[in-house]
Symmetry: C2
Subunit: 194 residues, 2 copies
DNA sequence: GTCTATAATTCGATAGAC
DNA sequence: GTCTATCGAATTATAGAC
């Protein structure tokens, strides 16, 4: 689809027998994320991923070993949460919501969050990864100041928003503009943070 | 597993050639809901359902026609929402949350809600059913008084709670007692209803 | 009404040629 | 590094005996 060009190593032709493995690997992973994000783990096929990556199915196996290992690679996610301990208490809900919206609606080609949430509902391995990410990235970022109970319920609110807006596409929720979401939902987050 | 007994028709033995089709159908549907609820649509197999119903796999096909039609039958759900228009505005959040908790934690054998939510995330047919239920049961029950935007966001909050507590089982959310949930989450619902 | 046997696909994974 | 060919397993669905 897109042409990544000759890469940072310059325009010189590769020596005979050279491997373009890094790029091929990235192309496969990108296609895999797109499939996992749209269809979940079980409906995603190695053959389908390979077709999207314009490569043979056996190459996917060669690069990632198995469908499960490919899945693990697709589930490696960095939420890139900012440091929230420095945010004033009164601004926290708003900052949280803006960070959330920026990430979910920022780069349409970034399927990482979609993969994680969609898969976690029917796949125990993905659910475990989601819990790890919550415990390792979300809870530390906002848990210090408010304790695990409120941190958990804030996550429930944000995941509920992602679920209805981006996965289930409930019309009344999906139709809102980002500004409307921020305006209407921030007070709700704030209520849990009290 | 459980013995439904001779049924309301009394203890008399059936005449030769009699059909117990109604009961068989109910047993299959019960087993199907349990499977769909735990594994989602794709991982659920006719063979697995049949085994749990202590019956042959071909009987499931005979009674329901196909896996998809069995799924449709399992997705027929009545939320049994009370009339919320009569509830005082200040009590609405609390009543809503209690109704929600009662339904989700009431009858452990009632897998209907679990089936719907889990399947809807990876199955477009189920997602469509969920949107229909929202539009046909949830929105009318609470939408009149507050408009679609707030009704949508209330649903996002409640589905987020169901997602993290009953499907993903995020420890910090699953560990809360129902009373704690009601106490901590009601103000958040209330904030959206303002 | 219930089960046996099997057809027809589809998929993950492997072996080996080039 | 890439592709062809194929195996073995699992699944939905059907035909037909009892």
């Amino acid at each position: 689809m897109d042409d990544p060009g000759p890469g940072p190593s310059g325009g010189a032709p590769r020596p005979p027998g050279a491997r373009s493995s890094d790029r091929t690997r990235a192309v496969i992973l990108r296609a895999a994320r797109a499939h996992f994000a749209r269809h979940g783990y079980e409906r995603t096929t190695i053959r389908g991923v390979a077709a999207d990556a314009a490569i043979d199915a056996s190459m996917v196996m060669r690069y990632f070993g198995s469908k499960e290992k490919l899945f693990d690679a697709a589930l490696t996610i960095d939420l890139r949460l900012p440091d929230l301990t420095a945010v004033a208490r009164d601004d926290l809900a708003h900052v949280l919501l803006r960070t959330f919206l920026d990430r979910w609606e920022g780069d349409p080609a970034d399927d990482a969050l979609l993969v994680l949430l969609r898969s976690a509902v029917t796949n125990e391995r993905a659910a475990e990864r989601l819990r790890e990410i919550f415990a390792g990235q979300v809870a530390p970022a906002l848990g210090e100041a408010m304790g695990p109970r409120r941190a958990g319920l804030v996550s429930a609110q944000l995941l509920g928003l992602a679920l209805t807006r981006y996965l289930l596409r409930v019309p009344d929720v999906a139709a809102l503009t980002p500004d409307e979401v921020a305006e209407l939902y921030a007070p709700a987050l704030d209520a849990v943070l009290s």
